[in-house]
Assembly symmetry: C2
Homo-oligomer: 234 residues x 2
DNA sequence: TTTATTGGTGTCAAATTAACACTTAAAAAA
DNA sequence: TTTTTTAAGTGTTAATTTGACACCAATAAA
């Protein structure tokens, strides 16, 4: 006899906080929910965990459904289990955050979902506890990016130091001194200067850099203190 | 009609990685599993999430069942969702870690469970993915303790600097210079020196300290770099 | 050729870090 | 009572890291 037979089984979902950076602002990919309850309201992309898939697999599937992207940086954020988070039936949600290069996002794939990139500073009302999820995701992104070179996942292969700095400034909602910033970033040895310049956003043009992939993988756990006083972060 | 009706519902458990410190070694509270599958094998304490409780509530209940303790430091670690983690039926587990003052643990409460404190360096074979959970918990404890004064949760109200240092040394499995250690710890302003000494473990005796609770709460997010090169931690 | 704009760089003082060794208190032993 | 043993407690210094700060360079547009 099955010892577990009397136990409650619970609907299990994954939800995905998808970050992108357009060169100026940090953004989130939100959708208009396509089914009840709360049909038509803003929501994170999510889906039920199927019997045949792990959380990681479910999240990757859901993310691909929306963005068309594979091999995206995905990290489990938190498991949300409040009893009434979904009014229709108890559903727990394993939230993940994703960091994607916004330029790789293929719009057509997601037209079913009415997806939109929304600046993190202007997130609309959301269903259920999705606002809370986003708050935690932003905090975790700050926390983690202060210690690990995670934000490169949001940039294209080639990027400039001013772009990188404005990404950091977006994530921390603050401004850094560019001399100190470039000194710190370059001292990690993670960046390789290119010969070309990015010319659209200034007259002088800014040199492109690429990540040293080998060094990135080796040093992912051993980054820097990009953020002064990063230990004060929540 | 219920839109969710066709979705899979999954057994949901919580498991608890319980840390304690006996003055010398970092330990884990393990039990001998009381039911099938794997009855009699070593296991973390856990239990199914009931329809009426959140994850936090379920974990607090399970922890109280085993230890008799309330108000313990508990933090969600990770949600484990591999399909075959439980061979009998798919069961996901939300793992939490707990930090308790080992002296408050009441042995008789748990006799049902055949609980034992086991040094983290000598953990026996465990059921399911519990070994993996413990590994993650130890990593997270290291990570977090490098940035926040979390380890005080493992100590009694009064403790000495040598005790505190050996706790840190246990968590990081390394040794620190006691001059640098005490300077750093005291510079946080978190500790209040007492007039009495602890006399059992040395002839000279070591002064007791207490946590400044107010300062502890205010500075929990803004601790120290107790650990040289803590940013290199995983 | 002048102007406007953004990119890129260097110095210095202050703070922090890590390395390092001797004295002190008190119990135990002689 | 003196001596010995053991662990506690403390300070200095050199090296590194940090943060504050301002000017020149390149280029397109006027």
């Amino acid at each position: 006899m099955n010892k577990y037979s009397k136990q409650t089984r619970i609907l299990t979902a994954v939800d995905c906080i998808i970050f992108g950076f357009d060169g100026t602002e940090l953004k989130l990919l939100l959708i208009k929910r396509a089914f009840e309850p709360q049909k038509g309201n803003w929501s994170l992309m999510g889906g039920f965990v199927q019997a045949t898939e792990s959380f990681d697999e479910a999240t990757a599937r859901v993310l691909k459904q929306l963005t068309g992207l594979d091999g995206v940086y995905l990290e489990q954020l938190y498991a949300f289990g409040a009893i009434n988070r979904d009014p229709l039936e108890r559903t727990i949600s394993i939230a993940y955050f994703a960091l994607i290069d916004i330029h790789k996002y293929e719009k057509q794939i997601s037209e079913d979902y009415h997806a939109e990139w929304v600046p993190v500073k202007q997130v609309p009302d959301l269903i259920f506890d999705h606002q809370h999820m986003i708050k935690m995701a932003r905090e975790k992104l700050q926390y983690k990016a202060a210690l690990h070179p995670i934000l490169f996942e949001l940039l294209p292969e080639k990027f400039t130091l001013p772009q990188l700095q404005s990404l950091y400034e977006g994530v921390y909602d603050t401004e850094f001194d560019k001399r100190n910033f470039s000194r710190k970033v370059l001292s990690t040895g993670l960046l390789v200067k290119q010969k070309e310049k990015e010319k659209t956003s200034s007259k002088k043009g800014a040199f492109y850099y690429k990540l040293n992939k080998r060094s990135y993988k080796a040093n992912f756990q051993a980054f820097l203190n990009i953020i002064p006083n990063s230990h004060k972060l929540k």
